[in-house]
């Protein structure tokens, strides 16, 4: 059984620490070149390999990641 996931990052509150990038087993997340209103380079998803494991959300210090997951 495979799962397909999608994360939604609250980019306005992301501080761009990059801890989620290390935690992601599918290398879905990268630091954006754009910045939010506080000047942080926020993280964003770069591909659709996400499996909805929520590892990124588990380690996010600011709790900005919401995880959605479906069976497929």
């Amino acid at each position: 059984m495979a799962f397909k996931g999608q994360i939604v990052i609250d980019t306005e509150h992301c501080k761009g620490c990059g801890v989620c990038i290390e935690a992601c087993p599918m290398q879905c997340i990268e630091i954006s070149k754009n910045v939010n209103s506080k000047g942080y380079n926020y993280t964003h998803t770069v591909n659709d390999k996400c499996i909805g494991c929520a590892s990124c959300a588990m380690v996010c210090p600011d709790g900005v990641i919401s995880v959605y997951k479906v069976k497929c």
Partner: protein, 276 residues
């Protein structure tokens, strides 16, 4: 890249708990405090004790913790959180009382309060964030600073002959009969976060048993104090902090764990950090 077929309320598996407020945390990017706050809030949410929980915040980086938890909070004088929590718990025995302290607050100025609260067997939960440094004031040496570790006040590394040994207060408290549950966890990887959350859940549930103090140490990185990126700081913590501060349960249900030998409790020759 957003797949709108998946982003629906019924598919939501994880989001920030409502026990945390919407205030943006003032912590540095990548700081373990945020993760520790979130798992405590999740435990409060899962146990359904939001209206019965009273937290005590310390002095240090987490002095503003009351801005982030949507539960009752009391600010304590520097190091006195266990004393304040003792009074709150004795006056409100049905409430769940926890303190949230850093290493400068709990292990330096608050050593007396910590030791005596544990020795009295107060029925509270203490969460201790150990990052080996005084983060808020600019990275000075703390009692938990490792031997050889550079800080603002030990620029050539901590020396045993001058600065003494790192204080392993978690092992110290485990030897007291008043503690019921003593453990050391960390929040730098997803697996460790889940383990730390389970430990905090157990520490809160122990308050129903009324058998003594539950103490959860969380090893955390202080990337700005250690002058590293968050990811580097987490790796450095794994390589250098964990040999001195081994993770795992030390005392469960009032008894020392079977793998806790006398050598493990008394690390008489602390390992030296040289690569920082």
């Amino acid at each position: 890249m957003a797949n709108l077929d998946i982003v629906k309320p019924e598919n939501l598996v994880y989001t920030k708990t409502k026990v945390l407020t919407d205030n943006v945390m003032h912590y540095c990017p990548g700081c373990g405090h945020g993760t520790a706050h979130r798992i405590i809030a999740e435990v409060i949410d899962e146990m359904g004790i939001q209206d019965k929980t009273i937290g005590v915040s310390p002095v240090g980086c987490s002095v503003l913790a009351y801005n982030y938890f949507d539960v009752d909070f009391q600010e304590a004088a520097h190091g006195r959180a266990p004393a304040v929590a003792t009074a709150i718990k004795r006056l409100n025995p049905d409430c769940f009382v926890f303190t949230y302290q850093g290493d400068g607050d709990l292990a330096a100025i608050g050593t007396a309060e910590t030791l005596h609260a544990a020795n009295r067997g107060e029925n509270i939960t203490m969460v201790f964030i150990n990052n080996g440094i005084y983060g808020m004031t600019g990275g000075q040496m703390a009692p938990t600073t490792l031997v050889g570790m550079k800080s603002a006040t030990t620029p050539y590394g901590r020396r045993v002959d001058l600065n003494g040994y790192p204080l392993r207060i978690t092992e110290l408290l485990a030897t007291l009969p008043g503690t019921y549950y003593v453990t050391r966890q960390s929040v730098h990887t997803p697996g460790n976060v889940r383990k730390a959350k389970a430990a905090i859940r157990k520490a809160f549930e122990n308050q129903k048993l009324n058998k003594g103090l539950s103490f959860v140490e969380i090893c955390s990185s202080c990337n700005s104090g250690w002058k590293m990126t968050p990811v580097q700081a987490n790796k450095w913590m794994e390589e250098n902090m964990f040999p001195n501060y081994p993770l795992g349960d030390i005392k469960v249900d009032g008894k020392l764990c079977e793998n806790i030998t006398a050598e493990r409790l008394v690390l008489d020759h602390p390992l030296t950090v040289v690569n920082k």
